[in-house]
Amino acid sequence: MNYIAVAIGGFFGAVIRDLIGKIIVANIFPVGTLTINLLGSFFLLFLTTIFLEKVNISDTVRLGITSGFLGAFTTFSTLAKETYVLLTQGKFFVGFGYIVLSLGGGFFTGILGRALALYLANLNINVKDEG
């Protein structure tokens, strides 16, 4: 059952990655992948923390969203490809800037997601009891 949930999540994660990648396009910089990876990092840290601390959901649904959807939505191989392309075009500054923004930005948005989840979990809203 978990495998099916991961497959369904992975299907939609990849499709939505492609759609967002087509909407957010810039000439000098792979802004689409950057946006996708930063958003995905925020939501993965937010959701895993909130699922652990506050909201009870089944393992199947949790894995479908985290390992399936967010795992496939964000991508590492495209980041490697785009960096390679920038560097081989001689755009060293843009290439290294892209890595710094991706890693630094992902780390920052991830911590932001986790902090927000911990903050919400410590408020006196008993989502767990109601759910």
Binding site: N2, Y3, V6, A7, I8, G9, G10, F11, F12, G13, A14, V15, R17, D18, L19, N37, G40, S41, F43, L44, L45, T48, L63, S67, G68, L70, G71, A72, F73, T74, T75, F76, S77, T78, L79, A80, K81, T83, Y84, L87, I99, S102, L103, G106, F107, G110, I111, R114
Partner: protein, 123 residues
């Protein structure tokens, strides 16, 4: 529409393979280093490089490139693991993991392209 189904199908297979490998590797290796995601991202970068270099048709690119390798490799879990290394007090391991992954990822992508060129009798 067909494009999206190709991407979705490839992505679902990539996600399931990543999920399975992460579980299998996690059962055998219990160290701090996020070995499973590390290997997955390197293999996936190599595979994408190979595919990119082979310049096959658009259908295969959408299915295997955007779909499969895009869904197999993951950025969000990579960041998640880095943040948890830091929370465990392993700050330098976190930095090491982040930097080693991306630099070897780019090298593996280039190696995949190199292999593709070799197949095609290029470089």
């Amino acid at each position: 529409m067909i494009d999206l189904i190709l991407i979705g199908f490839g992505g679902s297979m990539g996600a399931v393979l990543r999920f399975t490998l992460t579980k299998k590797i996690g059962e055998r290796y219990q160290g701090d280093w996020p070995l499973a995601t590390f290997l997955i991202n390197l293999i996936g970068s190599f595979g994408l490089g190979l595919l990119y270099g082979l310049k096959l048709n658009q259908v295969i690119w959408l299915l295997l490139g955007t779909g499969f390798f895009g869904g197999f490799t993951t950025f969000s879990t990579y960041i998640y693991e880095a943040i948890f290394l830091m929370e465990k007090g392993l700050f330098w391991k976190n930095v090491n993991y982040l930097l080693t992954s991306i630099f070897t990822g780019v090298v593996f992508f280039a190696a995949g392209m190199g292999l593709a060129n070799f197949f095609e009798g290029g470089v």
